[in-house]
């Protein structure tokens, strides 16, 4: 297999916050087109891994490669421009902006006009602005939010806000999409819908997905490969059915039997 098939490579990354080791010597490879799940109990270091990949944190040790290119220590906006987009565990929409503007803001970094061309409305800017708006409309249409385009994002129902956050991430034209607990706070019906939605965008946008999730139904239902971590280290990896029966995973989630007495 050539190295270009590997979308993301985490090469022995470690993250320490003072004395706390959030992630320790973590290794992982994601190949093009995969839908990988990253699970683990609270505080296992899953979101820390996301924050390292997206440049919010720089790993204390180890390197991160995206399509073979070392992206360790780059700024979040640079990493987004290279093709990694994310959503957040606690939804972080631009709450007071319209649904449309949320999506448009995510395509701003591709704009090729300077600020004066934009303020004075030069034809070159107007053309790009129109293209951005058309594209945003298509995107909103494909995620089923086009009817809400002029609504204030903070006023949408919870499930739609999640959807919008994913749509906003897609507007950056990602090759790798990181979803941080997309089903958090959803009812079973919304979760069901979300699973279909994630599989749909994966096909439609041809994007590799790494997903953190607590809801086992989601993880087992859509992920092809699952990585389990606990206390900053990887403890298991495999297909959903293997993970379900893995004793170390069960131990991480439920504790050892004899520990209950201690």
């Amino acid at each position: 297999m050539s190295s270009t098939d590997v979308v993301l490579k985490l090469d022995h990354i470690t993250m320490r916050f003072g004395g706390v080791v959030a992630v320790s010597d973590f290794e992982m490879e994601i190949k093009e087109g995969e839908l990988v799940g990253l699970i683990g109990p609270n505080g296992a270091g899953k979101t820390t891994i996301f924050n390292m990949v997206t440049g919010v944190y720089t790993p204390t040790e180890g390197r991160i490669y995206f399509y073979g290119e070392d992206i360790t220590g780059r700024k979040p906006y640079q990493i987004t421009a290279m093709g990694i987009a994310r959503t957040f565990q606690n939804i972080r929409l631009f709450k007071d902006l319209s649904v449309m503007d949320n999506v448009l803001a995510a395509s701003h970094f591709r704009l090729n006009s300077n600020i004066f061309a934009a303020a004075f409305g030069f034809p070159s800017y107007i053309r790009q602005d129109d293209e951005m708006k058309e594209e945003a409309l298509r995107l909103l249409d494909s995620v089923g939010l086009v009817e809400y385009m002029n609504f204030v994002a903070g006023g949408l129902p919870y499930g739609q806000q999640r959807r919008l956050e994913i749509a906003r991430a897609l507007a950056t034209h990602p090759r790798l999409l990181l979803l941080d607990e997309p089903a958090a706070g959803m009812n079973p019906h919304e979760t069901e819908e979300l699973m279909g939605f994630i599989q749909g965008i994966r096909k439609k946008f041809n994007v590799t997905i790494l997903l953190i999730e607590h809801d086992m139904k989601v993880v087992m239902g859509i992920c092809e490969r699952i990585r389990v971590m606990d206390h900053g280290i990887a403890i298991a990896e495999g297909e959903p059915k293997d993970i379900q029966n893995n004793p170390r995973v069960i131990e991480a989630y439920l504790g050892k039997e004899d520990e209950e007495d201690a």
């Binding site: 906006y77 709450k95 319209s98 503007d101 803001a105 701003h108 602005d129 204030v152």
Partner: protein, 345 residues
């Protein structure tokens, strides 16, 4: 509504405004004309201040510093060589200001450029950090500029200040700049850059994760705001014709803060409306600063009473109308002709 109709409507609006200004200039007394002119200068200052504080969401307390820089730069350029020689009797003015005199318009432009450059220098260290450092840095910087102006006598004439600045700022210059500032900021806010500014205001971490470079965009907003603050300072100097370091104390920033909060943080229309109201109301309130005889009781004139009233007004607004006159909404043509579309800014 397409761009062409909107443009035509805007042209009509501006033409209508200038017709009203023409009428005002010819039929109102010079005192009222002066208030209207001052209103125009306030519009320039408030709309540009709102770009940073309301639209980009960065809490700056620095427009007084940028105004001072703009006012001094422009005044030193428009004053005649002879009067500068006469004025700077403690220490002579340095080159090139001692030997040039240029027209008002390029002088205001250069005042703006000086304001923008100053904003750039203040912005570089402040925006490296996230959070409220900008407020602290700009507040301190305002004081620094005042102290420098008091002591760099060969450039500012120290505490004596500059006097006999030609009274070039008439109603048309003030409102010409007001209209330009307003439309520039409005167009910018509605553009892709404006969306990036607002995204940073709403959630800087999310904005950065969506590919927006926060440092670059905060700097852009801050420098543009600094430019217009410099222009506003230049206009103010050529309206009141005498400037000294005391004039550019934090007091001016405080007034501008009242204006943009009352107008609605984040709304350029609100800032413009509140700026005009502020100019008019603060003149009307002069009455309460003069001695009053209510028949049974005699109140001596208390200078500064106006500010008490404004402070109370601000408190009342914050309780009953916390989002200001306009909130974050803008007046748009769509709002008039096509009421279906919600005015989301």
């Amino acid at each position: 509504m397409n761009r062409k109709t909107r443009f035509l409507l805007n042209v009509l609006l501006v033409a209508g405004l200038f017709f009203l200004l023409y009428l005002a200039k010819h039929y109102l007394n010079s005192y009222m004309v002066r208030i209207i002119t001052l209103g125009g200068v306030y519009v320039v200052l408030a709309v540009s201040y709102n770009l940073v504080n309301g639209i980009t969401g960065q809490f700056s307390l620095g427009p007084n510093a940028f105004m001072a820089v703009g006012a001094y730069t422009a005044s030193l350029l428009t004053l005649s060589v002879a009067s500068k020689q006469q004025m700077f009797f403690i220490e002579p003015l340095i080159w090139p200001f001692n030997s040039v005199q240029i027209h008002f318009f390029p002088a205001t432009l250069l005042g703006g450029v000086a304001g923008g450059l100053t904003a750039y220098l203040v912005g570089i260290p402040s925006f490296r950090l996230r959070g409220d450092y900008l407020a602290i840095v700009t507040l301190g910087f305002g004081e620094i500029v005042r102290v420098i102006a008091n002591n760099v006598i060969f450039l500012t004439n120290g505490a004596l200040g500059l006097k006999d600045i030609p009274n070039y700022t008439n109603i048309y210059w003030a409102w010409g700049w007001a209209v330009f500032t307003f439309f520039f900021v409005r167009k910018l806010t509605d553009s892709s850059y404006g969306r990036a500014f607002k995204a940073i205001r709403e959630d800087e971490i999310a904005a950065e994760a969506m590919g927006i470079n926060p440092f670059k965009h905060k700097m852009l907003s801050f420098v543009i705001s600094g430019f217009f603050a410099g222009v506003g300072g230049a206009l103010l100097a050529h309206l009141i014709t005498t400037i000294s370091p005391v004039l550019f104390s934090f007091f001016i920033t405080f007034n501008l803060l009242i204006i943009i909060v009352l107008g609605g943080l984040g709304s350029s229309t609100g800032a413009a409306i509140a700026a005009v109201l502020f100019a008019v109301i603060s003149e009307l309130l002069r009455a309460i600063e003069s001695p009053m005889n209510l028949g049974f009781i005699h109140i001596p004139g208390i200078p500064g009473m106006r500010m008490v009233v404004f402070a109370i007004l601000l408190v009342v607004f914050m309780i009953f109308w916390p989002r200001g006159i306009m909130g974050r909404k803008e007046l748009t043509w769509d709002l008039f002709f096509n009421r279906k579309r919600g005015g989301v800014s």
